[in-house]
Symmetry: C2
Subunit: 200 residues, 2 copies
Amino acid sequence: MSFSPLIVRLMETLRCLPGVGPKSAQRMAMHLLERDREGALALAETLQAAMEGVGRCKRCRTLTETELCAICSSHTRDQRLLCVVETPADVLAIEQAGSYRGYYFVLMGHLSPIDGIGPNDIGAPELLRLLDEIEAEEVILATNPTVEGEATAHYLADQVRRRGLKVSRIAHGVPLGGELEYVDGGTLAHAFAGRREVTA
Amino acid sequence: MSFSPLIVRLMETLRCLPGVGPKSAQRMAMHLLERDREGALALAETLQAAMEGVGRCKRCRTLTETELCAICSSHTRDQRLLCVVETPADVLAIEQAGSYRGYYFVLMGHLSPIDGIGPNDIGAPELLRLLDEIEAEEVILATNPTVEGEATAHYLADQVRRRGLKVSRIAHGVPLGGELEYVDGGTLAHAFAGRREVTA
Ligand SMILES: [Zn+2]
Ligand SMILES: [Zn+2]
């Protein structure tokens, strides 16, 4: 004996959400059915509107429901800088840090030959075309410090350098204010490999 | 600068789900938009179907899309027993334990004078009417061992006893296989207060 078929289906579909296992799905379904049907209907409507309305910015490829995203539409950013990131969430994180004022290009992933994800899938041709169009002087590669992110940065660096543009990679290491003790081994190794001489 | 308005609205509506804070909502929205639009549309459709289709069993008040739930429709259960629980999830937990074979009545809550929840809100009149209709000989009160659950059990016990029926309360204490060390203080106090003499 279990919940009725429609409730079981609701619990199963809730599991398409990342981090939602059977127990959370049951708790969510019960909560919505018992206490927040209005919220559930609003969620249903917004899910549908977002899946149908949200596409990609035709310039930077980030997720947006307009042809150009708010950043690409802005005329007050520094045209000399283009920062390449893996995801829209990376754009938000950099924007919230507040110090970068240039434009972005969002790969929506990284190179992963094992999964059949090549340069075309991460928009490499669009990135190169964009570089030909705009006035960028420097491309900042801010892909993740993972094996795939490094390989992607390496590939793009080659391509961009051939255009005669300056290419840089953001620094990786121990976070400011972070205690060495609590930093993971990979980050520490990276911080040592990337050490700089301290000059008087 | 943040995500576009429709994406922000999606993240906000996802927060109607219990246990979903701003960070999880963002992760969920990005996951659905980047990698599982089909799952998101299925979820939208199921949410709507469930909110519109799921009502209450007209006999036991549990959540179901049929007039009578599967348990109330069954003719193989023990008619002499009626177990009163707070929620549909409690029914499932008891069914999964597998030893109880009677029927249920689901309060969909508990008495809570502070929140204005009285006997009518937990279906007390329907419970008494049901007892008059069926052949139940014993009502088992399985509300939670909380202040409100105990008060609810106490109130219902009075009402049911007046009908001349046997009333029982499920036992509460240290879980089987549980180690005393890891049991919370409230449960331990309950276990001591409910101690039974061991006879030779
Ligand atoms: Zn853009
Ligand atoms: Zn029922």
